[in-house]
């Protein structure tokens, strides 16, 4: 009798531990996702300044960027991993590409302190997005492993813990061009 009670107490505490660890992993992933959201928003916030700083030099690129910037509120209102959101973030990434290499093609810009600062801020922002994305994916990997591995998988099924998707967006881990 005591053995059975002891076993049941053990099972209860084991379940409690597993459930709490699953919640903790899920929260870690959600927290990392919110960091990506913050960083992406920060990037959108930089665009009007970038358009203003480059208007006189890069007419075409600035117009494209301004057009994309108008989608800011719509883009940010969409869920982080929706295909529309990913598409708009990718559009923004590709529109930003010319600005990364602008210094070489537009010597006047190179002399512009405000542009150089903006470019630095943009690069930093991209690097932070990349870091946040990597942190999110690491958290999701840990969470998914827990959801699928025994005995966590049993508790995960009972309490409806579902696998999370990794965050895929335009790769910003590329080599950042030198501004020298």
């Amino acid at each position: 009798m005591y053995v059975v009670i002891g076993f049941l107490i053990f099972v209860f505490f084991a379940m409690l531990f597993i459930y709490n660890s699953l919640v903790s992993y899920r929260n870690m992933a959600d927290s990392a996702a919110s960091t990506i959201e913050v960083m992406l928003k920060k990037r959108w916030d930089l665009i009007p300044n970038l358009v203003a700083a480059t208007k006189g030099y890069m007419e075409h690129e600035s117009t494209v960027l301004a057009k994309i910037a108008s989608m800011r509120s719509t883009a940010l209102s969409m869920p982080l991993q929706s295909s529309e959101r990913i598409e708009s973030e990718q559009q923004l990434s590709s529109a930003l590409s010319p600005f990364r290499i602008a210094v070489e093609s537009y010597p006047d810009l190179k002399a512009s302190d405000s542009f150089m600062k903006l470019q630095g801020a943009l690069n930093e922002c991209e690097e932070q997005i990349s870091a946040a994305r990597r942190a999110f994916n690491a958290a999701v990997l840990q969470y998914n492993n827990s959801v699928e591995m025994f005995p966590h998988s049993v508790i995960a099924t009972w309490f409806d813990f579902k696998r999370k998707a990794f965050f895929e967006i335009a790769d910003s881990d590329r080599e950042v061009p030198s501004v020298k």
């Binding site: 990392a32 960091t35 600062k117 470019q119 630095g120 801020a121 690069n123 930093e124 690097e127 932070q128 990349s130 870091a131 946040a132 990597r134 942190a135 690491a138 958290a139 840990q142 881990d173 080599e175 950042v176 061009p177 030198s178 501004v179």
Partner: protein, 369 residues
Amino acid sequence: MRHRTTRLAHGGKSYRFDAFDRVRQLNSFPFSPLLVQLEKSSMRSIEEALPTLKRNVSGLESKRLALWKTRKSGMLWVAIALAVGAAGVVTGLALGAPLFIVGLLGVTALIAIGLIAHFAISLPAKSYRTIFKSQFIEPLISSVAEQVRYEPEGQLDMLDQYRASELFTSTIDRYHIEDTIYGKVGETDLMLSEMHTEYKTTSTDSKGQTTTHWHTIFKGIFISADFHKEFRGSTFVRADVAEKTFGVMGRLLQKPVFSSLQLVQLEDPDFEREFVVKASNQVEARFILSTSMMQRMVELKKKFACHVEFSFLHSRMFIAIPTKKNFFEPKLSENLLAPGMLERYLEEIRLLLGVTEDLGLNVRVWGKQ
């Protein structure tokens, strides 16, 4: 490293130190007097520096020869004094001379040997070491990187940097610092030194005799460099002994207990095999440790072939390289004009100063000004 040590005032524990103020000073403009701001930047190629240096070395070589000659004759005189003293003592004893006379002869010979050894053997070596460092190593360093300065003897600021790094938590009871290089390499301000820090323990035996034991905390090259990205938290990259020894099970041992730091697991398998990362913020750790930075750190570890450890705090990067190699030490017997001599020391300098390039610290494309 020479075994000249400097005791910390008040046994180390009451040493006044405000690491944060010092680091803030280093990061602000103007830099501390140590970090000299000059116009030109970056390291020159060896080929560019060689012709001028080779000319300067000729003068130093004649000084070396003179000192070497003094030392050689000193060794000869020591041998003669030893032989004369020994012969005198033996003869005196054989002839039944009074013990007082024999003893006096022996002591006189020993004093003569001591004086000759000090003035004709030890002093030339010391003088050469001083001359070598000020007239050979210093111009050599300046010729490679114009914006850096070299101090052969200790530099107390390095101790502040060492403590600010938080890489070593043991209380320092004794330390020695030498060969400090500081200034700007490319876009990066940096300080590096050879350091040896120790703590002591005492034990008492059954007879009540107390013995002091000295234990090394760190011995090797310590580097403090301005990091090219702005960050606020703390990230520690340490040699991964647990995972290397116990494999996957070792990961369980890596988890910080009773600490505000979190274990950060990164994607690069080579990096994960070599290092364990603990940080105050997961995202910030990845911001610092970009994929390219991880590769560079693995390469740096291979280059020095020892357990290199890093910490990132106060927007600076600290690197502890526990190498046994003693940099910039001369040998009085070595001909400075011998082929490859200059290149050997140049390589040592480039190995140390090249850390900024190795880790890509000169790439300033981020927001940090």
